[in-house]
């Protein structure tokens, strides 16, 4: 009886962890499933369906690959002590591991039905020399993809996510510290979008979602993820009850998507970012610029 009373919980007090490191297989499985669901009956169906298959290939690949070598412990400790992200993101562009993963990914996605333009981009990347590949990978890793490279960049990004998420998964969440507002504590990338999570341990807390290493990290709500101000924040959406909104900052004139998984638990930061392209199209006519970087949605 006494024990029963002790374990009775009248409510759950959220204790949001600072980071939620990716379980790459689970992340890609869930993303592929969500993309398939969103593709059904959508005007963006062809693209979402294509992405679902690319992500499904990522999911197979992370399970096929030999376990990744964790980053050297002392280098990780040194980076964290210096408030730097432990994954040297830009250094990955020339990593032989990533080049090998890109080869396997391009091979695997060859069976995915895709438009001629996509197939041409895939072939171009497969046949490109090391220098050209490094250039495309560097654009993805830097979060700045040139319009003419948007096609090959998508396949490069799929390989980057496989590699970077596997590296992030080897880190110890306990040791990670904030690097700077709006930057991934694992790899230093800008977020693709952010999500107000619905699961009990962190209900109502907002997490920024990395489009490179798939890490989720806690960021205070009602705060600009580009400049960190809490002044002049408001939201734009198609309708007051929308579960995906643009968090708009009047200080730096930029915006990042915020997904309310507290209202729809199925929301996924990358899949739903792409599927809510309509919001990007409407925001493109506004005075604010998109600050989120989603490698599956470049150039918007």
């Amino acid at each position: 009886m006494a024990d029963d009373l002790k374990t009775t919980r009248l409510g759950v007090i959220p204790e949001p962890p600072f980071v939620m490191l990716p379980d790459p297989g689970a992340v890609f499985d869930r993303r592929a499933e969500r993309l398939r669901f969103l593709a059904d009956g959508s005007r963006l169906g062809p693209y979402l369906g294509f992405l679902a298959q690319i992500v499904a290939c990522q999911a197979v690949l992370v399970r096929e690959l030999a376990p990744v070598e964790p980053l050297p412990e002392d280098a990780v400790a040194q980076a964290i002590a210096g408030a730097m992200p432990p994954i040297d993101r830009m250094g990955l562009a020339e990593a032989p591991d990533l080049d090998a993963i890109l080869d396997r990914l391009l091979e695997r996605v060859a069976v995915v039905p895709m438009p001629d333009a996509a197939d041409a981009a895939r072939r171009a990347l497969a046949g490109a020399d090391r220098e050209a590949r490094t250039d495309i990978l560097a654009q993805v890793l830097a979060g700045e993809v040139a319009g003419e490279d948007a096609g090959p960049a998508l396949f490069a990004a799929a390989a980057v996510q496989v590699h970077a998420s596997r590296l992030a998964a080897t880190l110890d969440a306990k040791h990670l510290r904030p690097v700077r507002v709006g930057l991934c504590p694992c790899c230093g990338s800008r977020p693709a979008s952010s999500i107000v999570v619905g699961d009990k341990r962190a209900e109502g807390a907002r997490y920024a979602a990395c489009g490179i290493c798939c890490t989720l990290w806690n960021e205070v709500r009602i705060k600009c993820l580009a400049c960190g101000t809490t002044k002049g924040i408001s939201y734009r959406a198609t309708g007051e009850d929308a579960v995906i909104k643009a968090e708009v900052c009047d200080e730096c004139r930029s915006w990042v998507k915020i997904l309310y998984a507290t209202h729809d638990t199925a929301l996924e930061p990358i899949a739903d970012d792409v599927a809510s392209l309509g919001l990007d199209i409407l925001m493109a006519d506004s005075d604010w610029r998109r600050a989120g970087f989603d490698p599956f949605l470049t150039g918007v």
Partner: protein, 198 residues
Amino acid sequence: MNVDLSRRGFLKLSGAGVAATSLGALGFGEAEAAEAAHVRAFKLTTTTETRNTCTYCSVACGIIIYSKGDVRDGNADIVHIEGDVDHPTNRGTLCPKGAALKSYVKSETRLTQPMLRAAGSSKFEPITWDAALDKIARAMKDDRDANFITHNDAGVPVNRWTTTGFLAASATTNETAWATTKVVKALGIAGFDNQARV
């Protein structure tokens, strides 16, 4: 600032041309165009989320107030209030009174101006702030003049006024609480709660 000021950023700012998107570059331009045509019919609506402190008690829980519109544009209507998960005091939780805050804001019987129920009257009537403050000051002065204690039982001089109490609000700054304490204690009021004890 983590803002993308890449080539395409400059292109867009200068209006020099439309850069290719992932969809366009990969041959999904038709889907993108269909989505663009569809959303053109929609207008963006503005909502706001505002941090505040629950006004009920000295725990001073953090709350997030959701509104339609933006008060900075002169128009906002509160649609929902919930606990602020980022707030260290309550971490998103609220007591039953706090959870009902919206009803308190929207209540038809909410006090929005000073009201007076004159002696012998059966109803409250509006009164100006100046008149209300004069009336309160008068009542305090009269009570203090009648009941002020200048010496204790041992004959030591004291500044003691025990017939009036003072209750200050919870959502105040340290500076407000400091000033309130100085004023109240200078008058000699013994029964004083600044709601700063938690």
